[in-house]
Amino acid sequence: MRIEKCWFCSSTVYPGHGIQFVRNDAKIFRFCRSKCHKNFKMKRNPRKVKWTKAYRRLHGKDMTQDSTFEFERKRNRPERYDRNLTENTLKAIKTIDKVRSRREAKHIETRKKGKKAQLMREAVKELEQSISLVKAPSVLKEDKSYTLPKIKVKVSQAEAKNQPMEE
């Protein structure tokens, strides 16, 4: 039993899932679901399809090089069964998975970090340029700040009393 990778989206294909297509040159393409299979039949390049892992890795959206990937390399030589080895491997898989997902999340976080400063600059610029949309120029002359003047609304006591009765 082997957990394969989908050729198109690089997700894991567990046993019992997906379709395996064998081309006449004996190259095997495994697909996790019909979505990937249909995209393959349409001759789409996974490196250009935004939701695939191939695209994300190519465009630096996801982590590419890390030591945790070394553990998942395909090994074609079967290991002799050893209970201790199997037990340790299962434990290791859990911790390595945790480490890897933590590092991937960090990578995405650092990628998204620089946006705040840019957003601030954009907001300041917009405020400077389009303040006339919300504040009249005459008012702006008197009060040069970008805050809007406070408007006081009078609520009569009789109306407030009526409202609960209407409901």
Binding site: G16, G18, Q20, F21, V22, N24, A26
Partner: protein
């Protein structure tokens, strides 16, 4: 164009057994969609009468037309044997054109379920010619061969294979 194709297929459907009609009508419905987009995706089905298959051994035949699918009401699948008529052959080969032969389907475009739950499909419909006992006539086979043949007791073909899918 779609209409003319559809009428041709309906004529073909009427001339053959009524049992095959539902499958051909399935063909019709898919063909309507197929003609509309540029990538015509025909849904792969069973190998039945009149199916032309490629021959992938060195027995001399090149193309073979299925006459009968032994076993299977709807048709033959991957690993089944068929009775076929040789339509195209190499000039000097063991089989000649027009001969009626048996063949084992080694690659089928229709997906076949494996015992682990996954499905395999190949690029084309391909056959290896055998004699009545099931021994291959040729001495070489080309291309990938699925290991489904082992269960069907076509071990000889597997031994000749270069690549087992």
């Amino acid at each position: 164009m779609a209409a003319s194709l559809a009428s041709k297929w309906s004529r073909v459907g009427r001339s053959f057994l009524g049992g095959l009609d539902h499958k051909l009508s399935g063909f019709l419905s898919t063909s309507h969609e197929a003609c509309s987009n540029s990538f015509s995706q025909q849904r792969s089905t069973f190998i039945q009468m009149r199916t032309v298959l490629k021959v992938v051994d060195n027995s001399g035949a090149k193309k073979v037309m299925c006459i009968q699918a032994l076993k299977g009401k709807k048709g033959a699948r991957l690993g089944d044997t068929i009775v076929a008529s040789v339509k195209e052959a190499h000039p000097n080969g063991k089989v000649k054109k027009g001969k009626v032969v048996y063949g084992v389907v080694v690659r089928a475009a229709m997906q076949r379920g494996r015992c682990d739950g996954s499905e395999v499909k190949f690029d084309d419909n391909v056959v290896v010619l055998v004699d009545k006992q099931g021994q291959p006539i040729g001495t070489r086979v080309f291309g990938p061969i699925p290991h489904e043949l082992r269960k069907k007791k076509h071990v000889k073909i597997l031994t000749l294979a270069k690549h087992i899918a």
